[in-house]
Symmetry: C2
Subunit: 569 residues, 2 copies
């Protein structure tokens, strides 16, 4: 699989669209000078293009497998991982005190997108370690930090998240794994966890599991959950990997996609674990890890979309067929153009939203300003769900552009579609993201939402001069979204909010995407970015009206058909 | 995989929604009495549930394979095929003179939906034979008919379509396979064909290929294409399968889905073939075959959607998770309800559209009325593209309802999504269907479209009494669609029609779906059908506005970005 990193897009978005200049102007991120940013992205692009992209097909055709309890990874993945670790890409936003580069999350987001486009199955390993690093930075003791962070940041060790159990998926509070104090300051962890991504590998010296479990005196539900660090090998006196812990990979799943990423059932049989954070404080620590990972997963969607777009564009340009105008390639057919431009415009909008979310995270971290914190919190579920919806939609269209070749596995189009499919599900399904958006993220009475819409309206006002029609369309759309937001905030029966949560989130993504395109067009009025903006605003933005109509129906009628009557038979 | 045939839906749609009574009132289909219809559907349902559904997973996990030039099919497929053949399901609409049942295409459509829901990979074999039977009925000589039709109709032999070559996909006119007269009234066929579905098997005594090829004096493009019947085994004197023809299966494709259905590269090396229809008249014969198959493929989309819906509903009812109201199953969460009801409402609408198309085909066949013929021609691309879009959308949502289980292959949700993916591509991509709709199918100045919209408007008028809001919404939508249809008909630059063809077709599907739901609600106002209709009209129909906006932008802007500038890099 060949891949060309979208460096021009990143540069343009950072310089002109998502407000990265404000991040670079903070004291905390003063090192993120234009030269550094350029050097970082160029270097990451080279690794993704030269080292990771060639691994993508091998990960699919030679899945990770379990041999006598040991996970054997796909051919080349060990070398690919080494390149990621040695480049410093695992810990690029981690604390410099422990070996990280301390760079803004905005840059990590760009690099993560490139890595996911090139080889998502392997990048997923890094994404999980990044989440673990952030959780430990915020919640672990100094001793744990000193021991684990340098090894995680360097990539010598890697990290996983162990939340789900057979009866506890979206409902984490139902988990049963037990943690008993052993009198030596550590705990014996016992239970079974499922869907554990990258539970093991054959290229890092240790794998560190963050495990949610219950202490003996724990309350029921989420209030009784604590977080434990459970390494595959217990640290030896010199700090290296020592004797094996009581942790076992039971089996690997047979999955639709991401075959290169082992997904395991894990068994903890009195394994030694260290408490992270306070007793019964596991949910807070988990949310640190998950929030980071949610933006990361949204970014995986963008990466898959970009990869699928490049593959489809290349195919369409090369493929000669029918009486096409111009070059005679199928890319000259109006309907193929429509598909390709939609793929491009959707991917660009999703990229802008992910980077905007990252900018808010960076600004919150650098300034502590609650307004930035609220914006980061509000944009995270949108970046996750919108980015992954775009990933699923665009990779699906990538198959369509290929015609019959699209379903032949060797082409690679189908793999993008299979690999990205899980992203709308893991780290909280997109339904959960939407419920989070209309409930928790609107506990401020909609303030974070309205501030974002104010920015969209301001952008539309600025764009009126020269792009009157496009600006008006964006202004109207933000106004419609504002009215629906007001309606949602006024609903006190949460079921009425939840019933329209998914279409509401999608409409928000549409409007933010349109605003990003409009701003791009205003900043580069004589470039193809203006054509792309017109495409998005004229053809894709109108979808928001249907989505908002759906968002405002409420729960009426959803419960009027009994489950027995829902079968067609 | 378990499956329950939607017999209640079929009965209701035939009796109250799609106008099947008019078909049954014709002389040609006088045998299709209510008792016969009921017996036929019940018997087919039993076979699909008991014999075919249990084969679905085996087809996926044990793909058809090529061993020393011979195709070995998936375990149980031979027995499944025998059940289809012995039940008479292959030739249920075929000419009774040759052993067919002469039943309406409407019933074949219902049976084909059930078979595709149960095991699409095997059903696809039957669908192709049905297309071949129809092509031979219309275009073959009496001698060929007498020899081949009884064996195809009984299922003793089966049929394939050989159109595509590496350089000739959607552009059939580019094909190069040659046919040279051998002086004995037959022809020597030489060339390579690709994507040949069910090119061979190990359960029928013969496989008959309909092959498009060029005679020596052929013109370029589609005008120089002729159709040939090329059996795997040449007929012996007794009419049975005799010595092997010069036809070879070169290789099988490694596909995203439909693993149980072998897709081959075929080599014809001076194979003996019989001309079907007139020299250079291959396109007409092919369109007979394709038109039949297009409705059939749309129906596959409906079947996959129904199968995926049943699987998701069953899972959601069984799965207990979180603080759901009522029974505590995830089916009680508002967002899961929304997904399930959308799956159900979409599938029902697509089923209604497919059956309406079949009714038009039957009425055209029974009456010869050009108005019915035009309606059948207009509805065919909609039934194909809308049905398969629904198939892809609903199976995707089926994965989502399953959460993490959705991407575990053993669950079966992912298989529905993989299997149905090709249906938006084969038998003419959905882009080709949409172009056909806005060009060829509007050469009547939009008359067929406006007649359909008149029917929708009339239905809305009838429903005003008692369902005012729903009726108004449907009336408004048909009015918006009518205006866009007028706009399209007025565009003489076809690129302006083609640029919005796909969203236009989708909007048409939405409006026809809404009309079918409205009619259902009017006919059964106190049933869950009314709730379902409200769901569709309030939540899904509003999408039509965004689609129509997109349909009316025209080709403006599509060609303003050079292919070089379309890359993001």
């Amino acid at each position: 699989m060949s891949y060309t990193a979208p460096l021009r897009d990143f540069a343009f978005l950072l310089d002109h669209v998502v407000g990265f200049d404000r991040v670079a102007a903070t004291e905390r991120f003063a090192d993120a000078t234009p030269e550094t940013v350029n050097a970082i992205l160029t270097e990451a692009a080279r690794m993704c293009q030269d080292v990771l992209a060639p691994l993508q097909r091998a990960g699919d055709t030679h899945p990770a497998r379990l041999e006598n309890g040991v996970v054997r990874t796909s051919p080349g993945f060990a070398e690919g991982y080494r390149a990621i670790a040695e480049g410093g890409w695992v810990g690029m936003s981690a604390d410099p005190e422990y070996g990280g580069m301390g760079l803004p999350m905005t840059l990590t987001t760009a690099v993560n997108e490139m890595m996911s486009a090139a080889c998502m199955a392997l990048q997923l390993n890094t994404l999980l370690t990044q989440g673990q690093i952030e959780a430990l930075e915020h919640h672990a003791s100094d001793e744990i930090k000193a021991l684990y962070l340098p090894k995680l940041i360097s990539g010598e060790w890697c990290g996983t998240m162990n939340l789900t159990e057979p009866q506890a998926g979206s409902d984490v509070g139902a988990l049963r794994t037990r943690a008993e104090p052993d009198g030596q300051g550590t705990y014996r962890i016992t239970g079974q966890k499922i869907y554990i991504t990258w539970a093991d590998n054959d290229f890092t010296a240790n794998t560190c599991h963050l495990v949610l479990a219950r202490l003996p005196d724990a309350a029921e539900g989420t209030k009784g959950i604590s977080l434990f660090l459970v390494p595959k090998f217990l640290p030896a006196k010199d700090g290296g990997a020592g004797r094996p812990n009581e942790v076992r990979v039971v089996s690997l799943e047979h999955k639709l996609g991401l075959h290169g990423s082992p997904t395991a059932v894990m068994s903890y049989e009195g394994a030694t674990g260290w408490l992270i954070g306070k007793p019964h404080g596991g949910m807070a620590a988990m949310f640190t890890m998950m929030n980071n990972a949610r933006l990361g997963v949204g970014t995986q969607g963008v990466g898959a979309a970009e990869g699928a777009y490049q593959l489809a564009l290349g195919y369409a340009i090369d493929r000669r067929q029918g009486k096409a105008p111009g070059t005679g390639s199928i890319a000259e057919h109006a309907d193929v153009r429509r598909m390709l431009l939609a793929m491009r415009a959707e991917t660009y909008a999703a990229r802008a939203i992910a980077l905007s979310c990252a900018v808010a995270i960076d600004m919150a971290a650098a300034t502590g300003d609650p307004v930035w914190r609220a914006r980061a919190a509000f944009l995270t579920p949108i970046a996750k769900a919108h980015g992954t919806d775009v990933g699923v939609d665009v990779t699906r269209e990538g198959i369509q552009v290929h015609g019959g070749m699209g379903i032949i596995e060797e082409t690679g189009a189908a793999q993008f579609s299979r690999d990205v499919r899980v992203t709308t599900i893991y780290e909280g399904t997109n339904g959960i993201q939407a419920m989070d958006l209309v409930a928790r993220k609107m506990m401020d009475g909609g303030e974070a939402a309205f501030r974002l819409l104010d920015d969209v309206a301001a952008e539309a006002e600025k764009a009126r001069n020269g792009m009157g029609d496009l600006a008006q369309a964006v202004w109207d759309a933000q106004e419609a979204l504002r009215e629906t937001t007001e309606w949602l905030v006024a609903q006190h029966d949460m079921q009425d909010r939840f019933a329209g949560a998914v279409p509401y989130l999608r409409a928000f993504g549409r409007v933010l995407g349109a605003a990003a395109h409009l701003r791009s067009a205003r900043k580069a009025p004589d470039s193809p970015r203006r054509i792309l903006a017109a495409f998005y605003i004229e053809r894709l933005l109108p979808e928001h009206a249907g989505l908002l109509a759906q968002a405002r129906v409420g729960a009426d009628g959803l419960y009027d058909i009994g489950l027995d009557d829902m079968a067609a038979a």
